[in-house]
Symmetry: C2
């Protein structure tokens, strides 16, 4: 991965403070140790799932689905996978009906993923599907050990895989939550972890990424009022769901009451996909309020030689300059042109991340890079990066409504 | 459609001024007259496409694809359609390869949609596909009359359907741009227009929607600095692509230099889908900066009786309160719970839009409602709602890069 910043605000003291805080966090926050985990228990579990199972369906929402979806949708178009993966993430009955029509329930293994074990969406869907398929061997539960869901799984003799300690939902993609569905579909989870480990080592062992991540985090945190919106602009359709994962990670981690001032802070995440969003959101970045920082994410090698053929179209000669150009070159030229146009504005903080290709290792790096960046910005913004107290109020109101009906 | 505002800022003068401006705009801006157009030429054209054609593929980007996609994805899960619809919107070679693997090119009719006739994405993809399928009868071109693309279409003896006058891309879903692909797939485009016409009439003939739209527009425009982000939170997966359409409409129309002050203004659009985004973005709305207004969009009747079965799960008795509840009731209860939780905060401007069901008429209403709202807010924010000068700089740089390579 390469990362180039087009802004600068170098504060040695702030950077060192943030680095030490993150170093210390490793003792209490679980996600830092995930890249070097031993995956043999997961692979062993995967071998126990019969070959006849064609489909894996995750019943889970938010942190229980977004990470696996991001990796799966990134890899799916370029690799022959062994199984299809579906996600039940909504109580929308039209969506559930639609999903169920797309696969054979008898050849499906369901992964019910819930940290708390009482997620309304997950269990309303689970109950519905359980009424259609009540064979306990068709289900695996992923939850906290000793949670009520763990007890339930044991009661019905279904497999339960534990969540590791102190790993919150939105930081859980490299734990059982993401690794199990991905491995079941033939994704190389060891390569995924290796990509993450590269970034981890580079950060903690003073490699290339340490200084750049610290610079970026300090800049974002110092300017969180001015640049209150952070856009990632990925130049590849395959990163569309990575964007959705990033939106949860960033929004839910940083949108908080500050620990000391108690004031409402946060940086609003926006996931854009190029070149499509050049025809949608770009106008607003170019001429709208100067409240946005933008990170472009490019793929160096698409592993695809598709080329625009040498066809001249009458009256459309202006487009002949496209002939014999490969699409992968074109899309990166489009990205570079937009970057140059924005740099000319002079007052929009930009940076570019370039990943090498479309492989598990590349997406693993990107995931861990964003997790580290989030932890750093959270620390510097003086928020608790790892909780989400703001979503409780709605849950309590719903619980009351359900009781009173 | 019902629309309820939970904020108030009533300025008779501002409202009247905006209303008169929009009334006057009807002479110069084309989209206002689309709801009452005669669709018989479109239906006649559709009859000319052979029954053996199973797939329609749109080659178009931004305003040439987002509207049809929004309507198609809304209706598809609830109606048996006659053909499948695909969209080529990216120069990502992996995406093009992936799309081409999903249908039989010999049984496909391609709609090449470009207002200008020189969109880089559209023509690089068109050239690639034309090399695979060079039968001119497999293509229909939708463009401005007398544009170079019109001349090209005539040259190769392909059908060309004109764009109506003065209808910009992002306001074109109810013109040939959206209606042709939708009608070819069996979507009831007359119902779509009727839904739009209901809102149009209610607005211009002083019905229910007039006062509420004016109030909302005045509030958003007056507070565009304070509430610089507008979220729509749709409680249905079927509105996911409507959100993407809204993001383009809102972002590209309002993100501009002001006409008089020349300063950078805009309101950043964010499309959220519930209940999924309760587990992602909601935390940021609840505890983050007070820079967001939120519109909830609900569906009254999902036309689906799916019910959570009466299953008691050992150790998970807390979830028994879900039993015998229909999913459509549950999802609306979830929405109402979040609304109540946000209202308790007291400082987040909210409103709710409720559409009756999942029909063409409902989405037609929603489309026209948002088009009117955008025009009103643009007028009040003193921007030119209908241009997009900010995207030109990147295009010029790309053109130079293409020439120089």
């Amino acid at each position: 991965m390469k990362n180039r910043l087009y802004f600068n605000l170098d504060s040695k003291e702030e950077k060192e403070k943030a680095f030490q805080a993150i170093k210390a966090e490793q003792n209490s926050i679980g996600y830092y140790s995930l890249p070097q985990q031993d995956i043999s228990p997961i692979l062993e579990y995967c071998d126990s799932i019969p070959k006849e199972i064609e489909t894996i369906a995750v019943i889970g929402i938010g942190g229980s689905s977004l990470g696996a979806k991001a990796v799966y949708e990134f890899i799916k178009p370029v690799k022959e996978l062994t199984r299809k993966l579906y996600f039940f993430e909504s109580t929308d009955p039209i969506n559930i009906t639609d999903l169920l029509s797309q696969f054979d329930i008898k050849k499906t293994h369901f992964l019910v993923i819930s940290k708390s074990g009482n997620t309304v969406e997950t269990f309303s869907i689970y109950k519905y599907i359980y009424a259609l398929q009540d064979d306990a061997s068709a289900y695996t539960f992923i939850t906290d050990p000793d949670a009520s869901l763990d007890k339930y799984a044991k009661e019905i003799n279904a497999t339960m895989l534990p969540l590791p300690n102190n790993v919150g939902g939105r930081f859980s993609v490299l734990s059982t939550v993401g690794l199990v569905p991905l491995a079941l579909c033939g994704i190389d989870i060891q390569a995924l972890l290796s990509g993450a480990k590269e970034i981890k080592d580079s950060f903690f062992e003073s490699g290339y990424i340490k200084d750049i991540l610290l610079k970026k985090a300090v800049y974002y945190a110092k300017n969180h009022n001015k640049y209150s919106i952070n856009c990632i602009f990925t130049y590849s359709e395959t990163l569309k769901y990575f964007s959705e994962w990033y939106v949860q990670l960033w929004g839910e981690s940083l949108g908080k009451y500050q620990r000391h001032s108690k004031s409402n802070v946060g940086v609003t995440p926006i996931g854009l996909v190029g070149p499509k969003d050049q025809h949608s959101f770009l106008q607003l970045i170019m001429e709208g309020p100067r409240d946005k920082s933008v990170t472009f994410i490019k793929i160096e090698n698409f592993g695809n030689n598709m080329t625009i053929p040498d066809i001249k179209l009458p009256y459309l000669e202006a487009l002949d300059s496209l002939n014999n150009l490969s699409f992968s070159k074109l899309i990166n030229m489009q990205c570079n042109s937009v970057i140059e146009a924005l740099l000319e504005q002079g007052d929009i903080p930009l940076d570019t991340i370039t990943i090498k290709g479309v492989t598990e290792s590349d997406i693993g790096s990107l995931v861990f890079y964003y997790e580290l960046l989030t932890s750093l910005v959270g620390e510097l913004m003086d928020v608790n990066t790892y909780n989400q107290p703001g979503v409780e109020a709605g849950k309590i109101i719903l619980k009351k409504k359900l009781k009173d009906r």
